[in-house]
Symmetry: C2
Subunit: 420 residues, 2 copies
């Protein structure tokens, strides 16, 4: 048996112990994990320094290097996030529906953990603690496969988590950090159908494609966010401008940032010059269709690829559309099912936009940047699903459980027999 399989089976065997904890014990475990991260802050920073050196030596720089970097404030934020998860409502055992059937059967739908969740992610070390905390909160064991660049940081974080597991009499295998898996070992992990109940890839398009291609276990993809703002004929243009600037410039590198602006032709003449000026003042490069460029001569031409792009940068694709239908058709064609926003004062147009699109999050007069588990009331998120199954949109602890049936009765049978 491969070492990977041995460790994965140990994780699976640890899952019932996590599931069996009551809500109070699970919360205490997570609080102790947060404390352990704080207590080991120096060791975590030292490990991170090794990762940073190795990355710098390999020529990594800019945003990638920044995502890898930890400092005291970031370690404190990681611990605080784990504490927030500890304080969330416990989803395990929640009765979501209850019905007594005419024959007296008492039927309940009750949330239970999924079992073993495998997180496959890239450079950010905070995902190690975030994902472990959310999976444990929902009563699951977790297999973590972080990026090799963050190996030392992730290992130091996992050691803190393991200390808390031991202190609670739980097997360390409940949080199984897989170190530096080869491509072949990754494929093996993704095909452990008797161990892994759900794989969640988080990272660049390449990683997610790799997981989708090789997985035999269920996968919920957290794919790119090509988020749209459609400014309707009847939009409040100042409100639309607020949504545009917040969506595009408040944090351009995240998946809920805006990538494409669609403007009704009747609003374009008033909106685009104003928007173009504000965006240029914030360093945003514009790429538009012909009608856009007629109003914004400084904008470059937009290609098909631009409309499908997740820029994650200060670049915005722009298009003038004839009407709401054309905006909907554009989003259906180029969108990634993540988050779409309409700015309008026309309630009927808003409802048509909401109903015609099947993206995970559809918003009316709200910034796309609120497409986030914390902002939408989940408390924390393990990612934003663009898979239209099980969970769609921001996923919190509840999305790491499933409802099953518990039925109680007094000896009911379907076909009563005479006793011989």
């Amino acid at each position: 048996m491969s070492e990977l399989r041995t460790r994965a089976l140990a994780c699976r065997d640890a899952a019932p112990a996590v599931a069996a904890l009551d809500a109070g014990a699970r919360a205490a475990l997570l609080r102790d994990m947060a404390a352990a991260i704080e207590a080991r802050g120096e060791a975590i920073l030292a490990a991170n320094a090794r990762d940073m050196e190795a990355a710098a030596a390999k020529g990594v720089q800019g945003a990638l290097l920044d995502r890898l970097r930890l400092d005291a404030a970031r370690v404190a934020a990681i611990a605080a996030a784990v504490r927030e998860v500890a304080a969330l409502p416990d989803p395990v055992g929640q009765v979501t529906r209850r019905e007594t059937r005419p024959n007296g059967l008492r039927v309940e739908r009750v949330r239970i953990p999924l079992g073993v969740v495998a997180m496959i992610y890239e450079a950010r070390p905070n995902v190690t603690a975030d994902a472990a905390a959310l999976c444990l909160k929902a009563g699951n064991a977790v297999i973590l496969r972080g990026g090799s660049e963050a190996l030392h940081s992730n290992t130091a974080l996992a050691e803190a988590l393991h200390g808390a597991l031991r202190a609670h009499g739980l097997p360390e295998a409940a949080v199984a950090l897989m170190r530096d898996l080869s491509r072949e070992a990754m494929v093996e992990l993704l095909q452990l159908t008797d161990v892994v109940d759900l794989a969640i890839p988080r990272g660049g398009e390449g990683l997610i494609r790799f997981v989708a291609e090789h997985a035999r276990v269920p996968v919920i993809k957290h794919y790119k966010g090509v988020c749209h703002l459609y400014v309707d004929r009847d939009a409040d243009l100042q409100l639309a401008l607020d949504l545009l600037l917040d969506g595009k410039t408040s944090r351009p590198g995240v998946c809920n940032a805006l990538e494409t602006l669609l403007v009704h032709r009747d609003a374009a003449g008033a909106f685009l010059p104003m928007a173009g000026e504000a965006l240029r003042a914030r360093g945003v490069e514009l790429r538009g269709d012909e009608r856009t460029r007629a109003l914004l001569p400084a904008a470059g031409p937009a290609t098909e690829d631009d409309y499908a792009a997740e820029f994650l940068d200060l670049i915005l694709a722009v298009r003038v559309v004839d009407d709401l239908d054309e905006a909907i058709a554009h989003i259906r064609r180029y969108g990634s099912d993540h988050t779409e926003v309409i700015a309008t004062r026309d309630a009927a147009a808003a409802e048509r936009f909401v109903h015609a699109l099947r993206s995970a999050v559809v918003m009316v007069n709200v910034s796309s940047r609120f497409s986030d588990g914390g902002e939408l009331g989940l408390g924390a998120e393990i990612g934003i699903s663009t898979t239209r199954l099980h969970a769609y949109g921001p996923m919190g602890a509840e999305a790491l459980t499933v409802e099953r049936f518990v039925v109680r009765g007094e000896g009911q049978v379907r076909h009563p027999l005479r006793r011989d």
Copy 2:
């Protein structure tokens, strides 16, 4: 482009029209489908006669041949089942949660259709109508791939469904019956990740393994039901006997029939002789461990394979266990996550059984034969999921939808900017 892909894309393109129907129009469509099945009853029976002849010529017989066979009563039952689905509550657009955030965002979770569901099934022609009805009820388009033995029957049924689609101005492609797919074409269908949102295989173990092995689209498996009855020390033995006889003998060929009986050693002396006699009177073959055979000398020996088997026949594996923990360990080891029953008067033992097992349906003093969508209040079922994701246990129309987020506001942004 292959013919399969062309037809699958047409199905995908038909999905928004189904999703856009309101609840009343979808119900009317389904009622008209039921009427169309009745109106074409003779053509359906004639087509079925061709399938039956071909099957008989190939040597098919017994239960398999019976599952293929239609008669006037079965056609009427198919139409009645479609009418029942028409009368169910419409899940599309249901608001499952509603919250106003402190910043005024109004966040709703709303059910939307999955999109395109691919049903892969075997000989029973009624699945063609049942699956189409449930998928359409939930606003989905559906790709149907039935068994080649039922090709003419399925085609005649699909023609009836298509007539109703046309009468409602909907594309026939919303119900796409794929005729006689080769193995290669099946694999192609299972990898159409840009078309198929969910594949549901229903049939024998071989079919389900084939689908699981080749699918790149999400799959919810409807795998075997190795259902257990555990008779606890404190069980009401007459009640336990009722559950046993109903579970094993009322319809042994279905997935919610009992396959294994576990008996607490303190109850075995009183229960097993009584149970053995009643089962033998009904023609049930028993296969037991040594302690069972000491009490029931006529029972054959049980192998490891017997404990893992879905007999679907009048055969029962039996084992005497030391206590509840051993029963739980046995079910964890040999079970298929389908349905488990405890017979007990001990409330604490019942709760331990419920919590320790993570099967889709766990029952206390109830016959396993109630593990069925209709019996548990779903109205109808497309199958019983043993995949612990999205839906677990009997799946009704609601399980063919997913919740997404609809957010409404008045221009809220995450990082208010001064306007320049």
